[in-house]
Subunit: 195 residues, 2 copies
């Protein structure tokens, strides 16, 4: 295996385990065993468990922001339909995972924000970027007269993004699609339909 | 110290540590040391760490539902003002905690829902009760013509409750009141003001 592939495999396997057990509760040896990588090589790829965690945030953020961009830039659809496709994509992922796991970045945000300033700073940056992309989509909807001009697009995007994290936690607790479907309904049929 | 006091002290100290470090990442000995209780006595009060965790949910839920009831039953205020007082109470608590910690029940929901069915069931029950209390408050607002009849009060209450958890996570990440203030604004000035 090439170096880049090995590193990616460690990140992928680490991600799967941490998604189930949390960051603090997952050991490096457990990740390496799952990836079939000799113990010694971890420190060839990562300076420390903290460095691994920070690179894991980049790994998730890369995927997440790519999906967000590819949905929100799909000009075949109206802006609000693009946003809907984005949320539906993650509903499908939750369904595939039997409504377990939730959002890897949201989970790390909750677990690590109080414990590590580097994690907190990096997560805040990803959330800020995500909010801005959603806000641009809402702005386009407004410019096309498909969204009320009474809504502040940045505030609305921020509220939607945060509410989504809450819906994902409740989805785990309910282990059903109910909270997620309700989130979609309240956002698209109530909040974004106002005056 | 009487038995009930000792048990309460273990729950209080355990709660403080778990609020910072998470449930899995906190050891029984650490809790007992912080509470100044001899090691052997834990199993006099709790059958296991799982039993402790389940009783900790009851401990938090007792406080939480009492605050919710006392706010929502305050007939000196209009129903939506009561709800606002409830959210403001927890904003003050977050401020006192320098915007760290977040919601103990929300944290346990995220950490433990996939790992323990008893935790998941108990948390789901507390969230369901909370949602119903908020829905009753919205229903009273609607009966008094202070809330649009176009909103389904149960769905709206559920969405607000879940969104609040999301706002609490973002509050930890931002370590400021911004996401919480935005949550209040979007709920009370936009969502509940519709048509």
């Amino acid at each position: 295996m090439k170096e880049a592939e090995t590193k990616r495999k460690i990140l992928e396997k680490g991600s799967e385990i941490i998604h189930k057990k949390g960051f603090n509760n997952t050991g490096i040896q457990e990740i390496l065993a799952a990836a079939g990588i000799p113990k010694g090589s971890f420190y060839f790829y990562f300076k420390s468990k903290e460095d691994f965690g920070l690179q894991l945030i980049d790994f998730h953020a890369g995927y997440f922001l790519t999906v967000l961009d590819s949905c929100l830039k799909d000009e075949k659809l109206k802006p609000l339909e693009r946003l809907r496709v984005f949320f539906d994509h993650f509903l499908s992922l939750m369904q595939e995972n039997a409504f377990q796991g939730g959002c890897p970045l949201g989970n790390l945000a909750q677990e690590m924000s109080d414990q590590n300033e580097l994690f907190r700073g990096k997560l805040q940056e990803v959330f800020e970027q995500s909010k801005n992309k959603i806000a641009e989509c809402l702005l386009e909807a407004r410019q096309r007269k498909e969204l009320s001009s009474s809504l502040d697009v940045y505030e609305t995007a921020d509220f939607i993004f945060n509410s989504w994290h809450g819906a994902l936690i409740r989805t785990k607790v309910l282990r059903s699609h109910n909270a997620y479907v309700l989130f979609n309904k309240m956002v698209f049929e109530v909040l974004l339909q106002g005056r």
